[in-house]
């Protein structure tokens, strides 16, 4: 057998390429970000100086930042519920079919293949042209709203497009879990006189709780960072009514102000919030899974 040292040496050699790119493009930015968040570094002057916690103090008083955080929290909450409920319903409906299973699955997953930028612009056409047309000519008056210009409807529009793009992915995860539930268990419940509704909630649902954990974790994580959909559909408007935190950070850094140091402080706060929320979620749901 090789000695420990030799083993470690050959290991290091094999890991080196991965370690190098990882350190340069992920680890270093993450670590140095903590330092930059405490400087007045910007995109214009060559030098920057240490300002301590001044940026963080400013973040806490930044009304626009917290407004975008408020929007993001509302978005996260609605997405977690809407996307997961819809995806689970679709997964259960498809799994209960004997025919056309593959066809439905293929169709529902289609939006996930396309970037949200492309999907977002397609929906933009629907919201700004098609719905008006349907309202005026087909008598669908309930569609007659300023879908992009009115803050309330703009939020709904964003949710529709984001859910449209996310449901297929979640559905695939739920379907994989549903296929893992043994038919004998369901049959046993049926023989014991349980109806379909009871069988689902008492037998099937507890068996797929790990999939629910994964799906909620994924939705939380991606929803907190929402950028593409909002950027494409409303650009954060009208005013700043639909500005997400990621968009707020992007604009602080790359549009107008180019205050990189300050924007990094904002992104550090976002990271801490996401970390806290996902930790709580994982602890709660993992604990639940183990009880079963």
């Amino acid at each position: 057998m090789l000695t420990k040292r030799k083993q470690n040496l050959s290991l290091l050699l094999c890991v080196l390429p991965a370690l190098l790119v990882y350190c340069v493009f992920k680890l270093y930015p993450a670590v140095s970000g903590v330092y930059y968040a405490m400087t007045d570094w910007n995109g214009i002057s060559k030098t920057s100086s240490f300002v301590g916690l001044a940026n963080f103090a400013e973040v806490f008083g930044d009304a626009n930042y917290w407004r975008s955080m408020g929007f993001t929290l509302k978005y996260v909450l609605v997405m977690v519920v809407v996307a997961n409920v819809a995806a689970l319903a679709l997964a259960v409906a498809i799994e209960s079919r004997r025919r056309a299973k593959g066809l439905y699955r293929t169709l529902f997953f289609m939006p996930n293949m396309i970037s949200m930028v492309i999907g977002g612009y397609m929906w933009m056409f629907i919201f700004t042209k098609v719905l008006y047309y349907l309202a005026d000519n087909w008598g669908m008056v309930f569609l007659d709203h300023s879908w992009i210009g009115d803050p309330q409807y703009a939020f709904i529009a964003i949710i529709i497009v984001a859910a449209w793009g996310a449901i297929g992915y979640l559905m695939i995860i739920f379907m994989a879990a549903l296929q893992g539930v043994s038919p004998q268990l369901k049959e046993a419940a049926y023989l014991d006189g349980a109806n379909a509704w009871q069988t689902f909630w008492r037998v099937t649902f507890p068996m797929i709780s790990h999939a629910l954990t994964i799906c909620i974790f994924w939705t939380l994580n991606s929803a907190f960072q929402v950028f593409d959909v909002v950027f494409v559909l409303t650009g954060g408007g009208p005013g700043r009514a639909t500005q997400s935190v990621a968009l707020n950070i992007y604009e602080e850094a790359f549009k107008g102000n180019v205050r990189f140091g300050y924007a990094t402080a904002k992104s550090t706060v976002l990271f801490l919030i996401v970390l806290a929320v996902t930790m709580v979620q994982l602890r709660l749901m993992k604990g639940r899974e183990q009880e079963l």
Binding site: V21, M116, W164, A211, V274
Partner: protein
């Protein structure tokens, strides 16, 4: 009882079909209206196009520099995915096979950062990109994707290698196989199921990523498909026939890819999500 069942059955099919129509609606509307003239589109968005003329497509092919953007995106995706697979397979395999404290320390170093959201590192990352002068270099840029993607891929490879018996590698070593040979002709083939998963998830990620190219690429000659589409939308915001045809053009490559590898893609997505 039986009648009730049948009715419920039809209701579920009807609901599914309705949901499918909703899913396809924006795609079909974009496709249908992309063949119209601007005047036709303005008078009736719901009508069938009078003639299927490809004028809009010819126009946008040129305007969005379609072939160039497509080539750029393809190059970026292929190099990024190749780097991720090579680096991570090699690292994940050795990390799993080496049972030392150093090895587990390295593994945790890779895994711990998986929770850091991209928006939290994008600004310092931008600085690194500037300092290394890889701004506007597609090959250099693919190393950035490799850096961001290896954690997850190493995690997946590491988990997969655990389930492969060691005997084959030992036999190869006894036969005098060196490590490079063992890796490429014995280990890599055995890893192919998980490699398929990693290739699919990462290819879709890189291909559809928007924020990172938006920050890093500023030269229009290096634009990806999404950047070109976005620019076109900014320039011709009221010329819907131009925009819709460009959207269809931008969507076509992935749709074709999906049509061919549908089963593998869906399997890969489920696999990657559950294991990650």
């Amino acid at each position: 009882m039986k009648k009730k069942r049948l009715l419920a059955d039809w209701l579920v099919y009807a609901a599914l079909t309705l949901a499918a129509l909703f899913t396809l609606f924006p795609l079909l509307m974009a496709l249908m209206n992309s063949f119209k003239t601007n005047g036709e589109l303005l008078t009736d968005v719901m009508s069938w196009p009078q003639t299927f003329n490809f004028d809009n497509y010819v126009r946008t092919l040129d305007k969005m520099h379609y072939l160039r953007s497509l080539g750029n995106t393809l190059l970026l995706t292929v190099t990024s995915v190749t780097l991720i697979v090579l680096f991570s397979a090699l690292a994940g395999w050795r990390l799993c096979r080496t049972k030392t404290r150093f090895s587990s320390a390295l593994f945790s170093l890779f895994v711990f950062s998986m929770l850091i959201p991209f928006s939290s590192i994008m600004i310092p990352l931008y600085r690194v990109v500037l300092a290394l002068k890889v701004k506007n270099s597609l090959i250099g840029f693919s190393f950035v994707y490799a850096g961001l993607g290896v954690s997850m891929a190493i995690f997946l490879y590491h988990g997969f290698v655990k389930g492969i018996p060691l005997e084959l590698e030992e036999a190869a070593a006894i036969d005098g196989c060196n490590m490079r040979h063992t890796f490429f002709s014995i280990v890599m083939p055995m890893l192919s199921p998980i490699t398929a998963t990693i290739v699919i998830t990462n290819a879709l990620w890189v291909w559809n990523d928007f924020l990172l190219p938006l920050i890093v690429i500023s030269k229009s000659e290096k634009y990806t498909l999404l950047l070109s589409t976005n620019t076109l939308f900014g320039q011709y915001s009221s010329d819907w026939t131009a925009i819709l045809s460009s959207l269809i053009l931008a969507a076509i490559p992935v749709i074709i890819f999906y049509a061919f590898f549908q089963r593998r893609i869906l399997e890969g997505i489920a696999d990657g999500a559950v294991k990650g």
